[in-house]
Subunit: 607 residues, 2 copies
Amino acid sequence: MISFKRLLIGRPLKSNELGEQKINKTKALAILSSDALSSVAYGPEQILLVLITLGTAAYWYSVPIAAGVLVLLIALILSYRQIIFAYPHGGGAYVVSMKNLGVNSGLIAGGSLLVDYILTVAVSVSAGTDAITSAFPALHSYNILISIVFVIFITILNLRGVTESASILAYPVYLFVVALFIMIGVGMFQVLTGKVPAELHSPIGTPIQGVTLFLLLRAFASGSSALTGVEAISNAIPNFKDPAPNNAAKTLIAMGILLAILFTGIVSLAYFYGTSPKENVTVVSQIAENIFGRNFMYYFIQGTTALILILAANTGYTAFPLLAVNLAKDKFIPRMFTVRGDRLGYSNGIIILALLSIILIIAFQGKTEQLIPLYAVGVFIPFTLSQTGMIFKWLREKPAGWTYKLIINAIGALICFIVTIMFFITKFLQVWPVLVFIPPIVYFFYKIKNHYDSVGEQLRIQNLEERDDISGNVIIVPVAGITRVVKNSLNYAKSLNPDKVIAVYVAFNREEEKQFEEKWNKWQSDIRLVTLHSQYRSIIQPLTKFIDTVEHKASESNYRVTVVIPQFIVKKGWHNILHNQSSLLIKTYLLYRRNVVVATVPYRFKA
Amino acid sequence: MISFKRLLIGRPLKSNELGEQKINKTKALAILSSDALSSVAYGPEQILLVLITLGTAAYWYSVPIAAGVLVLLIALILSYRQIIFAYPHGGGAYVVSMKNLGVNSGLIAGGSLLVDYILTVAVSVSAGTDAITSAFPALHSYNILISIVFVIFITILNLRGVTESASILAYPVYLFVVALFIMIGVGMFQVLTGKVPAELHSPIGTPIQGVTLFLLLRAFASGSSALTGVEAISNAIPNFKDPAPNNAAKTLIAMGILLAILFTGIVSLAYFYGTSPKENVTVVSQIAENIFGRNFMYYFIQGTTALILILAANTGYTAFPLLAVNLAKDKFIPRMFTVRGDRLGYSNGIIILALLSIILIIAFQGKTEQLIPLYAVGVFIPFTLSQTGMIFKWLREKPAGWTYKLIINAIGALICFIVTIMFFITKFLQVWPVLVFIPPIVYFFYKIKNHYDSVGEQLRIQNLEERDDISGNVIIVPVAGITRVVKNSLNYAKSLNPDKVIAVYVAFNREEEKQFEEKWNKWQSDIRLVTLHSQYRSIIQPLTKFIDTVEHKASESNYRVTVVIPQFIVKKGWHNILHNQSSLLIKTYLLYRRNVVVATVPYRFKA
């Protein structure tokens, strides 16, 4: 078992090896950007899907809408850059909202993001699997299985630790970027040299019947799903090599530039080639086929797209455990999320994330397309909160040049707020679960916090001098017969020098009772024997009744009651089913229901 | 929880209420015969399914074959009648084989029967469900679900206790018998009054091309599947009212007569009406339709047939737990099968049977037809063994009139042996699992027996005077900080007056270590503190290493080591996930891997 675990996740690392696990900018860009960059695979298509209701002539609107998304992107990048320097210990939207807007806002942001990272994993892996099984239709019936295998694969990589993951995960991200750069380069060259017929697209400014501001805003909201994932870097600053904030900020800018180029490029190519969204072929796939035909480059682009979608899930694996640590340190979620595993990753967070996303994949049968708007709105709520938080921060602190900073965050907050509202108005049927799930999550955050606070208060020792010693001990030994196990337990009980040892025997009929008492007197006459009578073949019932009586009397004179329970330790695991596990039952029952100490005395079988 | 259980299975019964649960002959006939009687629903059809390969003219052979089956039935009934009186405590084939042929034969019989009772439940319930869903095709896609619901229903009835089950289960069995009696009566009346055209059947003795002894024996073997279940009564003698053997013998004869009449009647009607087996309509259904048309009587016969098939499963519920008790008393299977539940039934056997048959139903998707030959051969192996055993018994004991008894059992043994061999020769593809599963089952019987024998030897106290007292105690208290929980554990340790109390603290770095030691000296300077250093964030590893050292030294001078572990007892179940269950882990680890006593001190939270 241990060696299998070691094979899977590698040798345990010492706590002081932590430094080595920090990542440099190049790897960080790959690890933390796959989510954002992969969004260009579906973002532009979302815009066209709205415009198509006006007819293909309306496609030119995608250009001004893309410009709007770019403005939003720039606002987000600049705003998060400010957050990185202001909060160098990470935590992103959760920390910023908590510090500047109060606990409620912080918990809403934290809760939204936790759920969102699970959606990131489920949506990205399912979409990536779809891309693969579209290329190889024979695999289509194994969609869910393949998705789950991918989730398990990414989970193992993350349990091994983030550096080694990065080495493996960096290549596909860069290959994807290179592949799309080539496609955009060759495509724009064809457009500029006039190889693409001008009739394919309507000129910008063509008047369109029935166009409304509502529809354009809806297209804009849809297109902004291409920006999911830009917050990942600001949450993961502690993973960067020193100086972490500077490195994180540079990585953020680099990611922003890449995302802007890819998004603009794809929207432009889609416009010039007059690409319409189709049910079974993605827009990127159509563009690639138009430019290259079905040759190596086409499959290379499709392959890297599929890979980066699957790897986008990895962003969730980096962000979720770190956010969980922040929430756990503030006592809003269980403490176990702060524990580092053998390889120094936050294994509990990683495993919980894997389980929940696998459940989501199974529940939605791998068809998670309808989750995309939910996913996007779950991102824009914390976006809005964190930027609003920054506005309050600048207004309060007023550092040098604060008006400039304030304006950037205010623009960002406003756009994000509008996008969020647009999602609720235009896609309510898909995003309502946010309204249903966030309040109970926040409620549980508070419940957990209250519990920890109350427990901490109970455990605190105010006065180191304070004494409350125990006056004496009564030891009860339930005996099942005259055997070596019983002798073993009795010897132990006597050796503790307690004030009293009581042996208890449960008899099922009078004759048995008498026989046992006679035998006992020949064997252990120095220990008082109490025999109890059971009419219902239950041992626990008369035993607990007796223990209650003793405990009641003992507590009056500050005595403690200890029950000695033997535990058979068998040589082979399967032997356990051969022994009535009644001792385990009695033990658990007494511990949880009665105020007694349970001393478990092991008795080892030789075979 | 307790009240839900009570609602389901009723109030607990006292041990001395056992007598009331014994059953009278009328009820016993219903409970223990449903398996055997329901077999007539498929037995005659099995014969025709073999003869059809020779053409419909060959159907007349079903009459002499049925006569052969009747001879076998008479031999079995007479033989089992002798077994009932010879072994009035029940156990049937298992006990008879064990006593007369040795342990191996006994275990083969016992193992076959255990598996067979599981098959009884799975096959009968599935077949009954098929009958229902054939009548109501809309339910067909819920076949497995319906089967499982039936299994659960029968399980609950049996957990409630056998008397109450009998009241409910007796009616359908008698209704089935009445329904078939009416059908046979009306049908034979029509035949005798010449209302059935003579051309429908070929006269007995018509020469048939290609008929072989092999084929006829195969038809005979198939037809003998109608006899599955006749052993049930001899296994269940302890359930009868006194005088149990006489009552059981009378019930057996009654069942034999009913079975003979029903079997002969159906075979005869099938012959006279020239009924051919069809894929979707059973032979019984065809006969009923021929005689009555599709009116009330037809549905009454179909309905009671479906019901009795489902109730046949109940035979398994009566026989399996009783056989399990016999095997468990002989220490071949886990002791837990001898424990009576709240309602005095052997609940563990009932529940295990339910689980295994549900697994079979799911694994075979409710299509258990191919299990019928396996089921039949699993019955005929113990039949053969028990009757061979009786031959040895008569030869050994030679009681009055033993030659008559010997001849009966010898004939029975021979026919059963031939039937068993015929199954292996003619249906090997369906019955091979018997050869694969029985040997490992017998092997495990021996393994379990060996374990219990060796354990019993180890636990036995030869000399009541023998003493091996413990010289002293060392108590180790792992401490996690300066809190009330730790104080609670330390107070307890000190109160036991041991020779030494050692507090152990695991530090993750040197600074923390120093700080803690300083605080400790101000707080509990009278208790020795040992601080351990952990490089891998693990508490268990350094702790067990330390405990090993202490334990090694202690055992040299016959000292025992006790480790005091606190256990948080939370107010609400879900609070458990808020506390690292590391104490539970440490406890289990120490108990199973190290030779120390673990004293668990509960610490109750107020909220």
